[in-house]
Amino acid sequence: MKKVIVVGNGMVGYKFCEKFVTKEGSEKFQVTVFGEEPRPAYDRVHLSEFFENQDAKALEMAPRSWYEEHNINLITDVRITDIHRSKKTITSANEKEYAYDYLVLATGSSPFVPPIKGVEKEGVFVYRTIEDLEGMLAYAAKLKVKNPNAKAAVLGGGLLGLEAGKAVMDMGLEPHIVEFAPKLMPRQLDSRSSQVLQLKLESIGLNIHLSKATNQILGDDGYITGMEFGEDDKLDVEMLIISAGIRPRDELGKTCDLDMGVRGGIVVNNKMQTSDPYIFAIGEVALYNQMIYGLVAPGYDMAEVAASQIIGNIEVLMPAEIDMSTKLKLIGVDVASFGEPFMPASKGHSIIFENKTQHLYKRINVSLDGKSLLGGILVGDASDYNMLHQVFLNGMPIPEDPAQLILPATEGGAFGSALDLPDEAQICSCENVTKVQICGAIKDGSCEDLAGVISATKASTSCGGCKPMVTDLVTETLKSLGKTVKNVICEHFEYSRQELYGIVKAKKLTSFNEVLDACGTGHGCETCKPLVSSIFASLYNDTPNKEDVTQDTNDKFLANIQRNGTYSVVPRIAGGEVTPENLIVLGRIGKKYNLYTKITGGARIDFFGAELNDLPAIWKELIDAGFESGHAYGKSLRTVKSCVGSTWCRYGLAESISFSIELENRYKGLRSPHKIKGGVSGCIRECAEARGKDFGIIAVEGGWNLYVGGNGGATPRHAQLLAEKIDNETVIKYLDRYLVYYIQTAAPLMRTAAWLDKLEGGIEQLKKVVIEDSLNIVEDLEKEMQFLVDAYECEWKQAIENDEMKKRFSHFVNSDDRDDNLVFVPLRDQKMPKLWEKEVKEVTL
C-alpha cells in the first residue's frame, strides 16, 4: 500500500481527506494526517461563532470517528519538524520518523504580528484558533470585573479585523479599530464605499481610527494599557487583537529546500506539485501564480486537484484564473465585492449608486461597450450579490441600461429567473457545485427537495453564502416540473399549518394523539408537537398545563430555559406600570431566591437563574402578591409598551398608559404563530416606538392611528398604517380582527411583518379584509377573539394550585436533590452561569 501523509489538519487538509477517500482507487493508499492543534479540523471561517456558544464541537468539520470510519490515521497535537526528501520521510517534534510516498503540505498560515515594541505584553492576542478565542474570552471576563467599561482595539481594518471588532463588541468591551491605511478594507473597497461602511459601523458602535501607524504598545507591569501612534497621539486600551494579515507557514518547505516565493509561500504548479514532484502544497501555504489565496474556496479547489493527481487523474488541473469575490459575513452589515472592484476609467465605466443616510453604496463596473459586467462593490445591501456575481462569472448579457442592475426600483426585475443561468454556472464555489448538478438532482428524481439536494451535492454546506440561490433553483425547478412546492409540517403531517388549523377546528380535535390518529402518521416530533399545541391554544386558549409533554420546553415549564438549564421568571407588568410596593415585592423575591435581575427592553423585570425545583414557590409568592404570568416564554402576547402620554407628558394628546394597560390585559395569554408585541404612543414623537411592533397605536388630533406588521430585532420593519383617527373601541375592533386573521393564516414562527409581506395585496388587502369585510368573516373573527379573551386563565396560577400539574417542576423523580451540575460565578454584584469551557480547565488542572 502506498502511503500518503498530510501535514496540517485545517480546513483544506481536511477537505483533501474528504475528497481523497471518495475517489476510486483510494483504497490502495494509507492516509495519515498530522495536526498540530489539539482537536480535529474545524471550520475556521465560522470561528467567530465560538464567541456565541463556546461550542467547539459544533465547529468540527467531522468528528474523530469519521477519520476512523474512512481508515484515516489522524494524529493530533503533534507538529512535524522536518522533511527528509532523499529518504522520503518526515520527523515529528516527538522525534518519530514516518515514511511517505506522497506528502501533502496543508500547513495554512499564521497571523502576521508586526514587530512593534511591546507586542509581547499580556492582553495582546491574534485571531486564528479556538485557543486564541478562549484566551480572549478569559481575559475579557477578567477585565470586565475590574472595569465594566474596558476598551479593546483591533489592529487592522481588513476583512478579518472587522470581524474581530464585532467579536470585541459582543464580548462587551468598547471596540476600536485601528487601521494603517486611510480607509477600511483597503483591499476590497474603493474610498467611497469604504466611507459608507465606516458610517454604518460607527452607527452600530465601532470606533474607527484611520491612518494610524502604531509605534509602541504601552503597558504597566507587563499588561497592555494603550497604543501610541505619535508623540501626543495615544489610545487607552486594555486589550488588543492583531489582525494585520497572514504569513504562510512555510517553514517545512524552507528547511528542505523546496522552491519558495520571495515573500514566502511554497511554490506550486497547476498540479499543486512543489519543486519536488512527490510533495504537494495546498491551501494558504501554497503560492500559486505568485499569489497566496486567503480564502477557503480556492483552497478546496487545490485539495481536489492534489487528491486527483495523487490518485492518478492527472488531467485535473488548477484553473489559471481564480475568483476572489467575497461576501463578508459581518453580522449586521452587508459588504461584498466581486470581479474587479476598482477599475481604471480606460477599461470601462462605473455606475455608482450611493445613499449615505441609509448607509448604502453600490458600484458596478461595465465594459466600454456596455455589454458585460466586470466587477463591483456592494455595501449596506448585498442581496443582489449572488445574482450579480453569476452574471459576472458567466459573462451573461446585461440590460441596455446597466443601472437597472443596482437601482432600488427594479428589485429583482432586471435579473429574471435563476433558471436563466447557464448550466455550468458555478452556484456554490466552496463545494464547486454547478447549476446543472442542482437542477439535475431534482429532474432525474434522485432528490425530492432542498434538504435532499443539499445532502447529495453538499451545496451551501460551507460558507452558506449560496443558500438563497440554491433554494431558488430547487423551488423553480420543482415548479417547472409542475410539482407544487408544498410546505408540509414534517414527516408526520402532510399539511401546512393553515390546513392543519382548519382540520383541527372542523373536527374539534383536542389532544395531540387525536390529531395524529385523525390525519397524521407515526408518533410526532419536536416540530409538529409544539405546532399542534399552538393550534389548540389559538383555538381554545388551552394553557400548556393541559398537555405539557407536547409543548416546547419553554411552554412546558412556563419559563424560558437558559443556557445552563435554569429558567427565567417574568411576571406581567402591564403597560410597564408598577407600584413602589410591588417593586419591593419583586426585590424581596429576587433576593430570597438569589436571582439575577434585569429590566427588559419590554419595560418589565426579568429574573434569571431560577432552578426548576424553585419555580412553583417563586410563582406562588408572585401570585399571592397579585402578579400573574408575563408569558415571556410563549409564542404569545409579550408586552404593550407605552409612553407616559397625556397623564404626565406636556405633549401628550391621549392617555397612552391607560390604553396600553387595557390592550395588554385584553390580549394577554393569546397564543399565536410567533410572539406578538404592541406599543402605544401619546403623540407622533413616538416615545414608545410603537411602529416597531406587531401593532402600534399613536395618538393624533382626532383619535388614534393604528399601525400593523412592524418588527424590531434583526429585521427591523416599520409598521404600516391600517386606519387613521379612530376611537378606542374601533382600535380594539380592528385589532381583534387583525390578530385572529393572522393567527389563522400565518405559517409557524412567522411574525406579523413577514406574514404581511407574504399576504397577497399586502396592507391594502388587509384593509379590505379587516375594515371593509371583503371576505365576510369579521363577525367570526371578533367572536373568536372574544371567546379567547373570556377563556383566559393565568397558567401559573393553575399550575401551582394543582399537585398533579406541579409534579413536573422537580429535577429528579426519585429524589428531592437539586441538579449538582449547576455552577454560578459572580457577575458584578449578581451571578451568572459558569462558562463550560472554563470548567473543563478547572476540572482537568
Partner: protein, 125 residues
Amino acid sequence: MEEVLSKYKTVKADEVQVWFKAASVLAFPTDGGACVKYKDLQIAVFNFSRLNAWYACQNLSPEKQEMVLSRGMLGDQKGTPKIACPLHKKTFSLVTGENLNGNLDPIAIYPVKIEDNFVYIGFSE
C-alpha cells in the same frame, strides 16, 4: 466536564449487573420524560406510550453539557424513537444513542424494565 461526560457509557441488555428500582410508573408523564438519580448519575427515563415502550439515556446533553435531556420532547424519525434536546433541538435515537441531526457524539443508553408497576433501570455497576 469531560469527566462528567465519561461517566456515561451505554449498557447493553446482557451487561446489566444491577436493576435499580427508580420509581413508580405513575411518576412519569405519558409520552414524556423525567430524570432519575442513581449514585452520581442522572438518567433520563421516557414513557413512550404510543409505542408502548420505555427508554433511558443520559440526562446530559452532549452538545451543551447541561442536565436537560429528560425535559426534551419525544418523537420518532421514520419510526426510530428519538428525544429532542430542549436547548437546541438536537435529536438522538433512543435505541442507538446516535445524533440524528448532526455530528455530536452519541449519548449513552440504558435498558429499562417494568415490574409490578415499577420502573427499573439497568446498570453494569
